[in-house]
């Protein structure tokens, strides 16, 4: 790690920066009430995979926004390939060879994969977009980098995991030399993440540079060359991956010692409260499962194997084509979402921006949803004071960091938005809670809080159905684990049986031990 040289600014070209792809010097960015970046230095060498870590609110996103031309720093300089630059917009950054995959995807849902990948850099023929060439291009790129996806699929129909691939293909299509990936593996299984890292490593070997913004220690340890850790807007550690450990990074991130990958003690299961018999819907085939009071049932599986559809069907947001669902003994197979909630179901959806919240509405309004017909209102009246008091209570109880409950939810960081969402749903005190990807893109400190809350909820005698792409999460929380593969429950394990290898194998379709029938 060479310290930045203050004397190095010449006629545009900065000396002493051979082999450095991206260098940020003394970046300071102030927002009303916060110093998001405080004289941050970051040096990323060409051909390396550089992990940028830190809790939500530590300043990673701001730093990347500055690098990518979305924010203008109050002080400091950005040097790309030895040349000082001042990006006015992400287009400038792209022109300089940067490319970014955002955590919330920037895709056109109604367009095809090929159309999305070539957007703004379309192959042309007689002045028109050459769609055939676009499709070919996508196939080539997909093959070259092992990111297979159907070029003609409509992006809106793809599961989140595949949409991520489209984002990465988009960068590759534009020939970005430096790729910034914000939480790229949040929705991938270990196998998919490994495949992604193989891609990233081969890109790095070609001389491209990867900046990885992530919360996941394991993939940083396995996949990165160096690590920079931010806390409260300042760099608190610069580490060489080969010489560090998970504990050391975690301590740098949180500023205290953290217990990683904790396996929680099993709960005491009571009567079944949610029973699913032979449920089928789009992408879900003949699923049987039951969740008992006081237990967490985890559903593992590679993204796109029917988990989302199953949960949506259980939440009443997708029609079931066959089967029967009972909640506390009552048939809810054809009940609406409202009726299910009234009968005792709460739901934390996977997509917190598009489904779980209204980002433009205030934190208070977001926290009131679902409570607005029950505890907060009487005879149809919803007093603003009750909404405010409710918001204040939940903000305190769940440690949601916000300057005021009146600010729009879009101003919250990802982790805080998730705390809002989980807090709101837990506050329903519903006997059954459906949770999808509870800690996707959430920092280590917040993960611990959320996990403790889910365990406490279970121990209070509630049933929890947990869908997660994060195996350590499933293993840590779930009392029983079901693996979904191609729309079916392919295998089922007790807490003790569910080690990472076994689950990984079943997720890949390998273990069909408890599957009813593999063939038609």
């Amino acid at each position: 790690m060479t310290p930045p040289r203050a004397d190095a600014e010449g006629a545009g070209v900065v000396e002493g920066s051979d082999g450095v792809a991206v260098e940020l010097r003394g970046i300071t960015k102030r927002f009303p009430g916060t110093l998001a970046n405080d004289a941050v230095d970051l040096t990323v060498r060409r051909g390396e995979i550089h992990a940028l870590m830190g809790e939500n609110g530590a300043g990673k996103s701001t730093l990347m926004s500055v690098l990518y031309g979305m924010e203008r720093a109050d002080a400091g300089s950005v040097i790309i390939d030895g040349r000082e630059v001042a990006f006015a917009s992400p287009s400038d950054a792209m022109a300089a060879g940067l490319g970014m995959v955002h955590q919330s995807f920037k895709l056109f849902d109604s367009l095809s994969v090929a159309e999305n990948v070539v957007y703004a850099a379309e192959p042309r023929r007689f002045g028109l977009v050459d769609l055939a060439a676009a499709r070919r291009r996508v196939r080539e790129l997909a093959e070259e980098h092992g990111l297979s996806v159907d070029p003609d699929a409509r992006v809106g129909d793809l599961p989140v995991g595949l949409r991520q691939r489209v984002e990465i293909l988009k960068l590759l299509h534009r020939g970005a030399r430096t790729l910034i990936l914000d939480e790229p593996t949040a929705v991938l299984t270990p196998a998919e993440a490994d495949a992604l890292f193989a891609v990233l490593k081969s890109l790095a070997a070609e001389g491209r540079t990867v900046i990885l913004v992530t919360h996941k220690l394991r993939e940083v340890l396995e996949g990165s060359d160096r690590v920079t850790v931010l806390r409260d807007g300042r760099v608190v550690a610069r580490l060489v991956t080969a010489e560090t450990s998970a504990d050391q990074i975690a301590a740098a991130i949180t500023g205290r010692a953290v217990e990683l990958d904790r396996i929680h003690a099993p709960g005491t299961a009571g009567e079944p409260v949610l029973e699913v018999a032979g449920l089928s819907t789009d992408a879900v085939r003949d699923v049987h499962l039951s969740v008992r009071a006081g237990e967490i049932v985890g559903i593992a599986g590679v993204a796109g194997n029917g988990q989302s559809e199953l949960v949506q069907a259980l939440a009443g947001l997708r029609a079931t084509t066959a089967g029967r669902v009972t909640l506390r003994g009552g048939d809810i197979t054809h009940a609406s979402a409202t009726e299910r909630r009234a009968k005792g179901l709460a739901y934390v959806p996977e997509d917190r921006h598009a489904v779980g919240t209204a980002p433009a509405a205030s934190v208070a309004d977001n926290l009131a949803m679902g409570h607005h017909r029950t505890s907060l209102s009487s005879r149809g009246l919803l007093p603003p004071a009750a909404v405010r008091a409710h918001a204040k209570r939940l903000v305190e109880r769940f440690g949601i960091k916000t300057s005021s409950p009146e600010v729009p939810a879009s101003a919250l960081s990802g982790g805080n938005l998730q705390k809002l969402l989980i807090g709101r749903e837990l506050a329903h005190d519903a006997p059954v809670l459906l949770v999808e990807q509870p800690t996707r893109g959430v920092d280590i400190g917040a993960i611990q809080t959320i996990h403790d809350q889910l365990i406490a909820y279970r121990d209070a005698g509630h049933a929890v159905l947990l869908v997660s792409a994060e195996l350590s999460e499933i293993r840590g929380l779930a009392d029983r684990v079901l693996v979904m593969y191609e729309g079916r429950v392919a295998a089922s394990y007790t807490k003790d049986e569910a080690d990472e290898r076994t689950l990984g194998l079943a997720m890949a379709g390998g273990d069909t031990r408890t599957q009813v029938k593999a063939a038609d």
């Binding site: 779980g356 433009a360 209102s377 009246l381």
Partner: protein, 347 residues
């Protein structure tokens, strides 16, 4: 707190847009050789002076009524473009009720208002049903259904209900006493009170009721409210029935005030539906904003006529003003969104 609010309002993009509109309008006037100060003075005295205020308030009654009719579904992200159809159906129904009701005059007035509202509501619900059950987008179904309604009313006023002996396409005048009470000898009627009461009810519903909350959340993120159990189709039906009822009310008020009859085209010609839609969009369907914007447009509409009379500046200038204000506001609708996105996860 109060000062904060005032300075916030002054810095708001609406104030900015209005000022920018007035300024650019002034440049137009200077360019055509007219005196902008005199022209604007004519607009203000024409609309708010002793001679004009009655006319302004009468216009405001219709504009505000239609603005509310469009704002209420718009709050949930639904656009009712069928205001004209609902308006004339309300008007013609009120006229028929007024002409043929056997009840005493005061009760007939009430009945005519209710009948007009019911007609408008039923017709708007038809558009909602088309969206809910046939998958025709509300925007399309409401707009297309509007034309046959206007034509039907026109046919009724020209043939079966036509005033015998008259050369105008209008119904007979309503019987004596079948009219909304007016204030003094002005053209301003109790209709204004009804419409303002509707605005107050809308404000109350929006701010203080559970359904108002659901409507707002649906407008901000329909998937979010559906996820939380708000039934979209039922909400569409309810909002459209209220919307149509308000449009019908405006039609009924129009018939129960001067000239106390249904005159073909008289309800649609002034373009209340579109001015109302503009006002609703301008205020992003917020109740108080809709009220203020409606009044603002009523002032422009009436003041423009006065300006034309006294200064020879064509009243189209006020339409230019309206357009400029809207363009500026439309630009605003993009900017804060971008700024919010930028701020996301920034701290």
């Amino acid at each position: 707190m109060r000062l904060d609010r005032i300075s916030g309002a002054l810095r708001s993009p609406i104030t900015f847009s209005v000022l920018a509109g007035v300024l650019i309008g002034a440049l137009f006037l200077v360019g055509t050789g007219a005196d902008p100060v005199a022209a604007y003075e004519a607009v203000l005295t024409g609309a708010l002076g002793a001679d004009g205020i009655g006319s302004t308030l009468t216009t405001a009654t219709s504009v505000l009524g239609m603005a509310l009719a469009l704002a209420i579904p718009l709050r949930a992200g639904l656009i009712n473009l069928g205001g004209d159809g609902q308006l004339v159906l309300g008007g013609i129904t009120a006229a028929v009720t007024g002409l043929y009701s056997p009840l005493p005059a005061p009760l007939t007035v009430v009945l005519a208002l209710l009948a007009g509202m019911a007609a408008g509501a039923a017709y708007a619900v038809l558009a909602a049903l088309c969206e809910n059950h046939l998958g025709v987008p509300l925007l399309v179904s409401s707009l297309l259904l509007s034309y046959p309604a206007v034509s039907l009313a026109s046919y009724l006023a020209r043939y079966p209900l036509k005033e015998p002996g008259s050369s105008l396409p209008q119904t007979r005048a309503l019987p004596d006493g079948v009219a909304l009470p007016a204030f003094g000898d002005s053209t301003v009627t109790v209709g204004l009170v009804l419409v303002v009461l509707a605005a107050a009810a809308y404000w109350f519903t929006d701010r203080r009721t559970a359904i108002g909350y659901e409507i707002r959340m649906t407008g901000l993120n329909a998937r979010f409210s559906a996820y939380a159990g708000v039934e979209r189709q039922a909400l569409t039906l309810r909002l459209m029935s209220v919307s149509g009822a308000l449009a019908g009310l405006v039609g009924a008020i129009g018939v129960l005030s001067f000239p106390y009859r249904f005159v073909d085209g008289s309800l649609t010609a002034p373009g209340y539906t579109w001015t109302g839609l503009t006002a609703a969009l301008l205020a992003a369907a917020a109740p108080l904003g809709t009220l203020i914007a409606s009044f603002f447009f009523a002032v422009l509409q009436v003041g423009g006529l006065a300006m034309e009379r006294t200064t020879e500046v064509p009243r189209e200038l006020t339409q230019v003003l309206q357009a400029i204000v809207i363009v500026f506001l439309a630009a605003r609708l993009r900017f804060p969104g971008r700024r919010l996105n930028r701020r996301k996860e920034a701290v």
